[in-house]
Symmetry: C2
Amino acid sequence: MTIKISIDCMGGDHGPSVTVAAAISFLKREPNAELILVGFEDVIRAELKKHKAGDHPRVTVLHATEMVTMDDPVEIALRRKKDSSMRVAIQLVKDGQAQACVSAGNTGALMAISRYLLKTMQGVDRPAICSIFPNQKDGPTYMLDLGANVDCEPQHLHQFAIMGSALVSAMEGKPRPTIGLLNVGAEDIKGNDIVKATAELLRADSARGLLNFYGNVEGNDIFLGTTDIVVCDGFVGNVALKCAEGLGRFVKSVLTIEFKSSPLNMLGALIARGALKAITRRLNPSRYNGANLLGLRGLVFKSHGSADAYAYEWAIRRAYGAVQLDVLARISASMAELMPTPEAHSTSEHSSLITEQGEQKTA
Amino acid sequence: MTIKISIDCMGGDHGPSVTVAAAISFLKREPNAELILVGFEDVIRAELKKHKAGDHPRVTVLHATEMVTMDDPVEIALRRKKDSSMRVAIQLVKDGQAQACVSAGNTGALMAISRYLLKTMQGVDRPAICSIFPNQKDGPTYMLDLGANVDCEPQHLHQFAIMGSALVSAMEGKPRPTIGLLNVGAEDIKGNDIVKATAELLRADSARGLLNFYGNVEGNDIFLGTTDIVVCDGFVGNVALKCAEGLGRFVKSVLTIEFKSSPLNMLGALIARGALKAITRRLNPSRYNGANLLGLRGLVFKSHGSADAYAYEWAIRRAYGAVQLDVLARISASMAELMPTPEAHSTSEHSSLITEQGEQKTA
């Protein structure tokens, strides 16, 4: 079955030079994929030609007259730029012409436009950003929210847990993935009131066999792989994500400096280049690129703004995998099952009332 | 001039086998230091004998009949165990018999007992935990709070910034250290209401030349060394700290596995052992052990509970350095200068009213 994905080619620090290159490379890997490249048509076509893909049979180019910049306030992106590549790419998902959308653009704008066009799922008050971290078990730790919601109430964190559980169940084939609640200690008495109240909700679901709540986890558990999913508010999650990125770069710089510090060290590095290659591969943040905007009635993936073509291709691959594994329907089914229907209806309706005023709080 | 430090020998995962070994090693390094070893006298004396230091002229052993365990609730540690090694060690600071105290015990108990016995400084509502992170500039980034306060108001974060600034000024000899406010983005509009209100307070101080406020920083800035100080609430700080520890261990495990994965890689590692040693040294979390409990009328340092003797010695060294550099007086002077006196008086008096009920919120 053909899977169609729309690409916001103008998004990110590098625009089409990265997004088009990644798209072409991705198409070589996935013979059943089709891509709709959205943005300034002439720029995109020039890039396609560079890659000898000017008439690629599985590429459609869709012109958009505007682009959302990294500095654009959410309101401008949402209200003023109605023909931005970002918005057009998301609209394709809304219209059923694409099954997922990928963008490396401004996160706040991407979330606001996605929410405005696609609406939230039944039972979801606020969508969340979910991505994976590597762990010592050589598997992924899924973590959310990574920055969409800087203030969360217990019911939001509760919803994140349900969505994360359905996502991991679909993506990893684990029927009962474990959920950890990020806290400052493992004991139940630790943390602030919001985290404690969230734990109550999760424990109740767990007792009824609806979720597999492990309990509180700490920052180090993300990398230990203690649980499949780590739930937190967007402020904490964003700090943890960037902290990990920063420390990763720091480690890389230390490795580079020290292995180049003398001819002997360089020789050692040359001989052990297999190990260094494996280390670089396992620690390479590019492989973890591609965050899922969860809780929308459509699949939207966010690439890191500074992604290169290799990293951006990972984001497309992640979107493709989510379509293949029917993630949207599975999360939707989980929300319908686990969220009490009357409240779910009212909050969902309420949250769908987002207007082009862009009043949503995003990081 | 002789500097006396009290050591809670029973604290931490390993107790006297680590704390006494570290004490003896430290005394070799610092000929002007004297240590008061507090805890179960027979156990401490046995450890001293092991290190051929049974009659060390600069060691005093002070018997305490109880110890605070890692699981002890704060109330038990504070109200029931009045002859714990932790409490006796802090009391020595209170009585002027030691100029600083080091403990690897239960953080919540250490903070509560310290606060009860020593009281908070004028102008400080809540003490904070401050420690250092390595950065790409090969210097330390000071970060607070790392877990004492899981909920903070803007005035608390403001006080952390003032205390951190005075600490760095004293410890690093920087007259105007830069202060970053941890947030989910660099722009002023980012973050939650508490962070935004804190930025207002810091900008006002900066405009008056009282503090050197850089602005918002993100998680990666900790390791870039963008600012000398990073201010955040204890929940976020604790997650960031443990996240860094966890990722550090993950990297170490990946390095070990890959360099041992084949004879060729092992040979390369042997040849480049100088580089690997330097890498291990720079990334070794033991070198960053020893967190400062800031805002008390006395110096208290917290070692990681799982510290080995090498790491614990670093905590003692940090305490010793703080005494040498007169950190307490300098922070006290900064608080008096920067905190408006009438409010400072009232809040300080209020916060000193902590009772043995242990009602303080600690992580």
